[in-house]
Symmetry: none
Subunit: 260 residues, 2 copies
């Protein structure tokens, strides 16, 4: 399907088509499609733009990635479908490992996602097949498998589009977790140390830009950025953005009028 660029929902529809395309290739599962829809809803409410609290979280995330000894970017099906190229660029800029980490893990999906990442320029992709041999405590079945060279030893983990159980498990292991989640009320958003309440498609290029910008800063400056960061405040501000957006719609009038 070709979407005309002047369509009022152009960007949203384009992302939707990307997710459906990836679904057909076995990268995204049906549950991932439903999850994408849930994200669309919050993006709507946020005004489909990067808000000031999201920018604060992006800056803190850039600082955390640059300060990390073993930063890892955890990639699932939806993340690969939407921002494979950006993940690879960010990993290079931040000196981070890339690891495939799936809720519905099958060898075929792992391989399909790893291949997409390699096509996007990744030199190394962890968490595929035998490499996912370490286990995260408190999680069951295939969901707990991680790479002993990746998430298992990481001090900072960036989890775009992660589920609540795993975010909580990573926190309990003492890791600094950076989440990208459009729902400021989700368990992931409320469990992470730094929650970027933004669409991953907008957040990842901005995070890459900030990492490159912050490279000239001293460790002391970066530590100060991280120290000043307050995730509860950021989540509250994100909810206020939703409220202001709703208010604006009400003020500007909700109805689309038609001639009688």
């Amino acid at each position: 399907m070709r979407i005309p660029p002047q369509h009022p929902r152009y960007h949203s529809l384009l992302q939707r088509e990307k997710i459906v395309e990836a679904f057909k290739k076995g990268i995204v599962v049906p549950q991932g499609l439903i999850a994408h829809g849930r994200g669309e809803c919050f993006d709507y409410l946020l005004g489909e733009r990067t808000t000031p609290p999201a920018m604060k979280a992006i800056e803190a995330a850039a600082a955390a990635l640059l300060l990390a000894k073993h930063p890892v970017i955890s990639v699932n099906g939806n993340t690969a479908a939407l921002v494979a190229k950006e993940v690879v660029e960010l990993a290079k800029a931040a000196g981070a490992k890339i690891e495939v980490n799936l809720f519905y893990r099958t060898r075929e999906r792992e391989e399909a996602i790893a291949q997409l990442l390699r096509e996007s320029g990744a030199e190394e992709v962890l968490g595929v097949g035998e490499d996912a041999s370490a286990t995260i405590p408190e999680l069951f079945s295939e969901r707990r498998r991680v790479s002993p060279r990746g998430i298992y030893i990481a001090d900072v983990v960036l989890v775009p589009l992660e589920d609540g159980d795993r975010t909580e498990a990573l926190r309990k292991m003492g890791k600094l977790v950076i989440a990208v989640d459009l729902n400021p009320l989700s368990r992931t958003a409320r469990s992470a140390n730094i929650t970027i309440v933004d669409n991953v498609v907008r957040a990842m290029p901005l995070l890459l830009k900030k990492v490159n910008e912050f490279k000239t800063r001293s460790r002391i400056e970066l530590e100060e950025t991280l120290r000043r960061y307050d995730n509860e405040e950021v989540l509250r501000e994100a909810l206020m953005e939703i409220w202001r957006n709703i208010e604006r719609h009400v003020r500007e009038g909700l109805l689309i009028e038609f001639p009688k």
Copy 2:
């Protein structure tokens, strides 16, 4: 998958299973799964119940259906998956035609949906194959095809789960459009004459009940119900419901804490 009835998300998970089931049967498309996710999110924000503004819209919709000369219920994949039986019962109670109207139209899907509707008791299903021979102006490709005995000549069209483009096109043709949409900010919600901001699973049985109840009312009474109805007010009240739910979350505290 068996979901225990005491699960806190029982009703929501049951609907999700129905949609995934219908997806496997070719009734729902991948985009329908995404749309369902979007709905889940708004339903969550609305508290997963029929709100007072939704009840107002349901009453106006019942009046509009009973006053109509040619009422039509437009059915897409998600609607058929969730409320096929309720659509048939409502059509009988309101003397409305049922028409299959798909965004992603293929002969196989039309037939699968029509069959499901017939299995649910429908005697006639319009908009399948050669019957969808009329066209709606301003829409492109297969999306504009409608039945000359259905939507084309309808004065009142009930569109559960419709997209914005088509809702707008129907309004431009001068039709009274009743939408069921969980997103009070969607173009569909803002374009329709009457917007029921509710889950179609809850709204349809209530609409059927109101139609049966209003049958004893005079045309003058029904016209008065319709005249007093204010869709902008109803959308504003629906947004207030969302806001009150968000406010409660903020009050109860956002962060999930972990030991350092």
